[in-house]
Symmetry: C2
C-alpha cells in the first residue's frame, strides 16, 4: 500500500487534503490511491444539503456538524457552493463563526471548485466522499446550490438529502416542483422565525401529499432556525429515522449501488474525455477538425464519427 | 436532402419543433439531419441570458424579443430554466403576457428539460441553437438559471451573454464573484425601480474595475425595468455594440470556434456514453461490475480500466 493511502486510512488530515487535491486535479497518481481507498470506504453516512442561496444552508450545516460532534462522531464537509462560508466566499461574520469547526480535529472541511473541470466535478466529489469516508469520518456532509443539473448529480450519491427552503423566497416552491422534489428525503424550512413560515410549510405539505401518493414514506418537514440552533436536534433525529427506514427496507443497498454506478460512469466519462482531448496524438487532429467545422467544410457529427472510429475497436 | 431538414431550412415551425425533439431524445435520425443543418447555420446572433430566479429574466427576454421583432428580426427562444414562464412553470399572469409572443409567427419558443439526460443537455441545446439558426432566426436567445455548471456550459456558446441582477438580492453579487463574472459581456440590473439599485450598481462597478484591468473592454451595466419596458432599447443597443466589438477585434471568430469545439466535445461525450451504457453487450458487463464494486470485490477505477480496455483500440 502506498504511503499516502495508508496515511489517509489513519485519518491524517494533510494526506486527506492532498489526495482530494489529486482528485480535483485529476492527477495520474489518483487511480492507484483510490483503488486502495475504495476497499475501506462505505462506512460513513452521507448527507446532501441543497437549497438556494440565502437559505442559510451553511449555518445549518455548521450546527448539524456541531450536533454530530456532540455525539462523538467525526464529520467531513464538502462545500461545492462557491458562495458558501466554508469556501471562504461569505461575509466575515460567517467565516468567524466557522472557526469553531475549523479548529476541531474531528472535523474536516473542504471546498471544491465547480469550474475548469471538463465534466470532472462529479467524479472529484465522489472521490472526496470516498476519501473522507475511508479516513474515518462517520458523517460526510455535501453542500451544494440546488438548482443546476451538476449539483443534482453530486447530491444523488447522498444517503439522505436535505432540501432547505426559507419563508418569503417566493420562487423556492417552484424550484421544488421543477425537480428537487425527487431528490428530497427531508425538507428543512430554515429561518423559521421569519414571517411566512406557515405559508411555505402549507405549500410544501400539499406538494408532498400529491407526490407521495402510493409511496411508503412521506417526506417530513423540519422547521429550523439554524442561527439560534433551534430545531437542529429534530433534524438529526429525522436523518436517523430516514437512515433506519433505508436500512429496514433495503433501499439503502440499492441507493449505494446507484452511487457506485454513478462513480463508475463518471470515471469512464473523465477518462474518455482525457483520452480524446488531452492525448497529443488526438489533440492535433481534433484542432484541425474544429477549424474545418468553423469553415463549414465539416459538420460536428461527421467529425465525432471520425474521431470515435479512430479510437473504438 | 431529407424532407425534415429541408422543411427546417424553409422555417417550418412544426419541423423545427420535431428536429429539436430528436435532439432532446437523442434520436438515431438526429445525426443525418444535423449534418445538413450545420452547413446552413452560423448566421443567427446568439444571446445568452442568465441570472438567479426572481431576477425577472423571462420578462426581460420577452421585452427583448419584442424589440427585435420591431426591427423585423425573427427570434428563437430556448428556455432551460424549468421555472421560466416560457416553460409553463410560472404564474398564470406571466404566461398570459407571453401569449403575445407565442402567437407571433416570427418567434419560436422552446423549453428544454434539464433532467433525465445523461450529460446530454448541453449537446441538445447546441443542436437546438443550430436548428433555430438554420431555420432563419436572426437572433437566438438562451435563457438559463446562472448558477450551475451545466448552465454555464450552455451559455458559453452565446455570442453575447447578459447576466441579470436585481437590487436587494444580497447574494447576487457574491454569485458573480464566484464565476459568472467571466461569462458576463453585459450586466443588466433589472427591477431598477426598486430601492437598492444604486448599491448593487456601485458594487458591480467596483467588481468590474478590478476584473477588467488590462482588458480592452469594460463590461457595461444597463439598468432596466422590464415589466414597464424601460431600458430595453439601451440593452438592445449595448448588445449591438458588443457584437460590433467582437467583429472588429476578430474575437467573434475565435468565440465561434470555441462554440464548435464545445459542440464536438459534447457530441463525442454523448456518443461514448451511449455506446457504453446503452449497448446491450456492455450493459450486462457493466451491471455485474457495479455489483462487484458494491461488494468491494472490485474498485471503480479498475472497472473503468477494464471497460475502456475492451472498447479502445
Amino acid at each position: 500500500m502506498s504511503d499516502l493511502a495508508s496515511k489517509v486510512l489513519k485519518g491524517d488530515p494533510r494526506s486527506v487534503a492532498r489526495l482530494i487535491s489529486f482528485a480535483e486535479n485529476n492527477s495520474s497518481e489518483l487511480a492507484d490511491e483510490m483503488r486502495v481507498i475504495h476497499k475501506h470506504s462505505g462506512k460513513a453516512y452521507v448527507v446532501g444539503v441543497t437549497g438556494v442561496m440565502g437559505s442559510g444552508k451553511s449555518t445549518l450545516i455548521f450546527e448539524l456538524a456541531r450536533a454530530y460532534r456532540k455525539q462523538g462522531k467525526k464529520v467531513g464537509i464538502i462545500a461545492i457552493d462557491p458562495t458558501s462560508p466554508f469556501s471562504g466566499g461569505a461575509l466575515l461574520g460567517d467565516r468567524v463563526r466557522m472557526t469553531d469547526l475549523t479548529m476541531d480535529d474531528g472535523v474536516f472541511i473542504r471546498s471544491m471548485g465547480t469550474r475548469g473541470m471538463l465534466g470532472g466535478l462529479a467524479s472529484a466529489v465522489y472521490d472526496a466522499v470516498e476519501i473522507l469516508d475511508a479516513s474515518g469520518k462517520d458523517v460526510v456532509i455535501i453542500e451544494t446550490v440546488g438548482v443546476g443539473q451538476a449539483e443534482v448529480d453530486v447530491v444523488k450519491i447522498a444517503d439522505t438529502t436535505l432540501v432547505v427552503l426559507v419563508p418569503g423566497l417566493g420562487d423556492s416552491i417552484q424550484t421544488i416542483k421543477a425537480g428537487i422534489m425527487e431528490i428530497a428525503d427531508v425538507f428543512v424550512v430554515n429561518k423559521a422565525d421569519r414571517s411566512g413560515v406557515e405559508q411555505v410549510t402549507a405549500e410544501l405539505e400539499s406538494l408532498i401529499d400529491i407526490s407521495c401518493i402510493g409511496k411508503n414514506r412521506k417526506i417530513p418537514i423540519i422547521k429550523t432556525t439554524a442561527k439560534e440552533n433551534k430545531g437542529i436536534n429534530d433534524l438529526v433525529d429525522e436523518i436517523e429515522k430516514h437512515k433506519n427506514y433505508l436500512k429496514k427496507t433495503k433501499v439503502f443497498e440499492s441507493q449505494r449501488r446507484k452511487r457506485y454506478e454513478a462513480e463508475l460512469v463518471e470515471i469512464i466519462r473523465k477518462r474518455l474525455m482525457n483520452f480524446i482531448f488531452d492525448e497529443s496524438t488526438f489533440k492535433e487532429k481534433v484542432e484541425s477538425m474544429i477549424d474545418q467545422i468553423s469553415k463549414k467544410e465539416l459538420d460536428p457529427y461527421t467529425a465525432a464519427d471520425e474521431i470515435l472510429g479512430g479510437i473504438l475497436k
